[in-house]
Symmetry: D2
Subunit: 350 residues, 4 copies
């Protein structure tokens, strides 16, 4: 619903994609935030309910073009625009606005790495220096002080939440990490592309972007920070016939003397008090359907039959913990709110 | 979470099916109700999270056998047991308990009709006389006073919400109603049956129970009450490869002089102020995915090309408005609470 | 594989859609036909395997632009081009070529009806007079003599195969026919449209084109011919989350004195010796998954509980009996071959 | 159809599961084999069409109990019975019968390994010594002479076809092999189990049997034979919401000096003339949907970004190349027929 007087007034830039819709779904239930402004150039003039009928009945503002936005009506913006475009738009926003950017534009601290993977120079390097990488559980203190948060990519969330504590605890080798990831289709957005048609996705599975997916440098950046030196990983994403969910099956080499129990202990120590990240009981494997629609990340750890190896499995909903939920969590931290506000809903299963 | 002191203390009998899980999902967010007791004979001794991992983390009581239940711990029960068994169990409950029964056992006011369709005499006819049929929008006053509410079947909800007002308004003939219904798989419950295996359901569609589905007499009971005389309908259910949702495409004959606009007007008049039942904009067709996970019912009306006919389409989530959500709505009314409590969540799409 | 000397040399115009691919799948197994030419303007220069990897390994000719086609290399063409474009292209083909057109361009005998439903005048009315409507089981004699066959639409196949014999036998009223059809997604083709994305189609069902789908006049044309006078029907299509299949649930009013057994007898009499159309055993309901990948049509008949009514259910695979298989069947008849050649494969289940 | 006089007369033991149905689908099109006998204890007395309606119309013999079988009516049998039961039944068959066993009972050459993984001593160790492991491309000469062929498991087919030639060629280390496999649901058979319900499988993915799946020793046996010494692998299967298909993403360490091109060359050399195993073009990733319904195995090879590593991806249809098709291929070899007979059909896509 529209923002009330005691609420944070939120704008959503690029509201007509799946991530934008998911932000709306979460924010209309948020007790301390209200949606004051939504842009969607292609759908400007329409109601959100015309674009997403499931979001009818909230008295939301109509969709407008971004150049019609009156920035004094909002206290912060979520930016869901395509990469590249995003940098200049955020650079042009009033400085007093807090920003959570859900594109890839400010995730890579090294603008040269950005240029290498995205094929053009970074357009707002000074903002890049200011931006905080918003994987809340790992960067809470920085997010609290941030004006501009780069919301992490969906795959990097699923990979870093289990791996960063394991590397930091010295439980695994950073040099032999294989991340086999399976994703639902909404990770590709709502753009009309042949590859995402029902008939091309249903009833089958395939790998894509093998050894060249753009989430790779983001994962390596996070793991490298944990290791204190550059890290190269294998990251192989697969498209799975489901709407939501990422499951990362991660094959790791144990540090000398470590075993799977040590990995469980390291993760338990790190996440025991976290509201959204949980170890599953020993011997059980987390499933994406157990986090569908929620902001939770579940992690399981198994000993491998190959001596000195272990298997770590994590699951998230790519649209929630992998995008909109993570963004709301960041907003909550940036504004000093209870971190779980707007994010309490349980998974929807089946 | 477990009931707090100022909350209605709720018991769920038969909590290990999909309907039980859905009740838990809704009730853990309910501000004025708490779960105090859950039974599941086959899974007694387990935590609910062991049976439904997506429901972990709420401090719920463990599952127990029904004969271990201490009824003084609860103020009301939701009964999700198989038909037949239900009648005697409810008959044995302390009279002070309010009951919402989600089985078919108390839906048919005429115990002879029950005996005809279920193949055995009704085992609690005196309770049947007391039971109120709990399609809240149509029976709100009676539900408010009820001790025992018979929660309606999923198909009957989708059929009666649009049809009862149309018959009562005299807009359509009660004698030529064809209800072609498409349902998701969870309507069949969690029992392990070949017919509900993924490989038997996915990537295809078929009709079942043609001219003999047990929801037929329930629909005819409701429409007959509206018409003031017995009514026979065509009701043909189809199994569709989706988890949740019922779409009822209803072919009706208009009363003399009536047109599709009159039907829209009748429905708008009836439901304009209802929180959960909505007419969709003219010319648009409601989709099950726009109510998935929510307690909403959407209704669309189209003129037919056949003169004197119209097409009415309704959609619900069979586990929510067709079962658990409807049941919570009834509880809210029975206890004088705000009818939407615990039911505010928007649909989950995609 | 490419045509051998003793084979009919076939061209496929518009080979890069699902219907084109399905023609290839069937024709590479056809003992008396070979593919000599395939056009696909957007993919010209590529191999068919580059567009459809499942069709690798047959030594097929590369895709070319239609204006590069050398017509002396082929004896007949299957035309899978968009409606409108098709009329002029077929008008420009050498007269000696036999043609099976899979578009809608020549299905409606009355060019005024075409103009009304397609929004522009017919561009080849003289060809329209020559065209034979190719629902083989109902028009075999005419197809045998035809040069240009208009392959029927997928929904009209599913509707007419059961209904035409019933009307001709006088078993049902032609004035009260309701066709509730459920279709898989491939009926919409391979074009990249938002409405056909996995996330928009999976896990839900909805009606579309209510009271205005373009297959309606085609159905009414066929039923009108059977009735000997104009007929108006209700036809309501629904999009179902599956790749292939149409299920038509048809609600009919019985002629005076007729019952469901009479309908079964009429269909049995008509189709007993047909290789592709079959009555299912009494009391069973046909399922789309039982015809997936095959050229079969299954039909079931049920008495309705409403006196004087019956329910007829038919299923086909929209890409086979509803498109490419029907087209090959027509080719077989046009060339005097065994009608089942290339069409013998059983359904693929699961 | 029933066996003709010049055909191999085939019996199928345990015909009422998905694998049995798939054998029927393939064999009814086989020019030199006919089905003379089918057993299915639970469904004895029924027609196959009553159990699998998609297989109607072939004049197949009715299903019988196994103790009603007259063995003189058949020349060979396919055995699709549960493991354990199979050993004694095959031991009791007349010696003149050739047998392709699709259970796990004779796949492990070492009966102690069998006992370890299956929890009971092998019941026919002398037959085990005679049995030939039937992965045709790798054991063609032995299969040709065999009386009893142990048809390989679905996962072991997908793993060994790419890995055995790579190990034999010395291109990869046998000591650091990680096989992340994604399977469709039919691999679990048609048994009614909660875990395989539509609602438990659709719209999600999860790992299962981590570090303890029974296909592991079979894979290690094959790779150990190729390496000339015992090998331990990581094999992690995942259940994917699709009916058919296995995709194995295999992470390998290159031998010193080798690169991905060397792996491609080794596979190309091994499979260039094989009818069913194919390298896909460089840079493309094979998809399960491109082999659905066919006996093909597609293999792709990618360089990894981690130095000294490569990624090998293979896909099969678990019911065809992973079960029934592989079995027919073995029969063809055992009887000196053209190896592709009955197996020519292309994949069904979409």
């Amino acid at each position: 619903m529209a923002a009330k007087s005691n609420q944070i007034r939120v704008g959503i830039l690029g509201a007509s994609g799946y991530t934008g819709a998911e932000l709306v779904r979460l924010l209309v239930r948020h007790p301390q935030a209200g949606i004051a402004l939504m842009t969607a150039d292609r759908h400007a003039g329409k109601s959100m309910a015309a674009v997403f009928p499931h979001l009818a009945g909230h008295g939301l503002p109509d969709l407008i073009q971004i150049d019609q936005a009156r920035w004094d009506a909002v206290d912060m913006v979520f930016c869901c625009l395509p990469h590249g475009a995003t940098q200049e738009i955020i650079a042009g926003l009033p400085e007093r606005l807090k920003v959570v950017d859900l594109s890839a534009d400010f995730r890579l601290a090294d603008v040269d790495v950005y240029a290498e993977w995205y094929g053009h120079p970074h357009l707002a390097p000074e903002l890049q220096r200011e931006a905080v990488y918003g994987l809340t559980e790992l960067k809470r203190a920085q997010v609290r002080e941030a004006r501009l948060v780069a919301n992490p990519g969906c795959y990097p969330v699923a990979a870093q939440l289990p791996l960063v504590p394991l590397i930091e605890a010295g439980g695994i080798s950073p040099d032999d990490i294989i991340i086999d990831a399976k994703s639902g289709v909404t990770g590709a957005g709502r753009a009309a592309e042949e590859a995402n048609l029902y008939a091309e996705v249903s009833e089958g599975v395939h790998a894509y972007g093998v050894a060249r997916h753009r989430h790779m440098p983001e994962i390596e950046q996070g793991l490298g920070q944990a290791a204190g030196r550059p890290v190269t990983v294998n990251f192989t994403p697969h498209l799975t016939p489901m709407n939501r969910g990422i499951l990362a099956t991660i094959y790791v080499r144990l540090a000398d003397g470590a075993d799977a129990g040590d990995l469980r202990a390291a993760l338990d120590g790190r996440y025991r008090d976290e509201p959204f990240v949980h170890l599953v009981p020993e011997g059980t494997a987390p499933a994406t359907r157990h986090v569908r629609g929620s902001n939770h990340c579940l992690i399981g750890v198994f000993a491998d039959r190959i001596k000195g190896r272990a298997i770590v499995i994590s699951v998230i909903d790519n649209l929630v913990k992998g995008a909109a939920g993570q963004a709301v969590q960041n907003m909550n931290v940036m504004f000093g709110l209870d971190e779980t506000q707007g994010l309490e809903a349980d998974p929807l299963f089946p």
